[in-house]
């Protein structure tokens, strides 16, 4: 599994790069996204949320990559595969189970979050961490939907986007600056 992937979409900017269309907003979105990973929540837990949201929405571009911060923190493919059975897998912690339940309800039916689920979150996370997780879910959900509706694919076509562009929002800093995604 690579942490980089080329990206293509049917919507093109003036120079072939989608994000040339909204550079200021995209730069700010990148800052917001980067801040999520440095706001008090274990990056593995954040990445599991991102991947679960992407699975529910069906965002192939998101599912094709792993955030390098989560990988650096010890995320393995065994744990990623365990997401398919997150309610019972021993590879998923109770804290991760609580937030994955929250993530699923966020995507499928925000009104469906129960008091019991909210109480479980408070057992494992501080209010500041819950603020981070809630913001992260909003961003992960939004980006997965945008990539899906734009048919963004990690397919190596000519619509590759550099690390300082989509890569910021999709994966964070890229150690292989200059490599196409």
């Amino acid at each position: 599994m690579t942490t980089t992937a080329p990206v293509s979409t049917w919507l093109r900017g003036a120079h072939g790069d989608l994000f040339d269309l909204v550079p200021e907003a995209y730069g700010q979105l990148g800052d917001l996204y980067a801040g999520l990973w440095d706001a008090g929540v274990d990056p593995i837990t954040l990445e599991l949320c991102r991947l679960r949201v992407a699975t529910l929405i069906g965002s192939a571009a998101d599912l094709a990559v792993r955030d390098p911060r989560a990988v650096a923190a010890g995320l393995t493919e065994d744990v990623v595969e365990a997401l398919a059975s997150w309610t019972s897998s021993p590879l998923i912690t109770d804290a991760q189970r609580a937030v994955l339940s929250f993530a699923e309800q966020y995507v499928l039916d925000a009104h469906g979050v129960t008091d019991a689920e909210a109480a479980a979150l408070h057992v494992h996370f501080s209010p500041a961490q819950l603020a981070t997780l809630t913001t992260a879910l909003a961003v992960f959900d939004a980006l997965a939907r945008v990539r899906t509706v734009l048919s963004v694919e990690a397919d190596g076509s000519g619509m590759a986007v550099g690390p300082s562009r989509l890569g910021v929002a999709l994966q964070g800093p890229d150690p292989d600056e200059g490599e196409q995604r």
Partner: protein, 56 residues
Amino acid sequence: MRIEPPEGGASLFDHQPELFAAFNLVYGTLWSEGVVDQATKEVARIRNARVVDCGL
């Protein structure tokens, strides 16, 4: 409210002021910049709120 704001704060997000500021910056840019008129953006926002059933 399931997650109380910090003392002196107004919402959950005041627990993470830097993150909230970053969110508000991009949200504000989307409203104040670009080539799509604000009426169209507001129609999209309201439609999204109705689909999600958000009363705010």
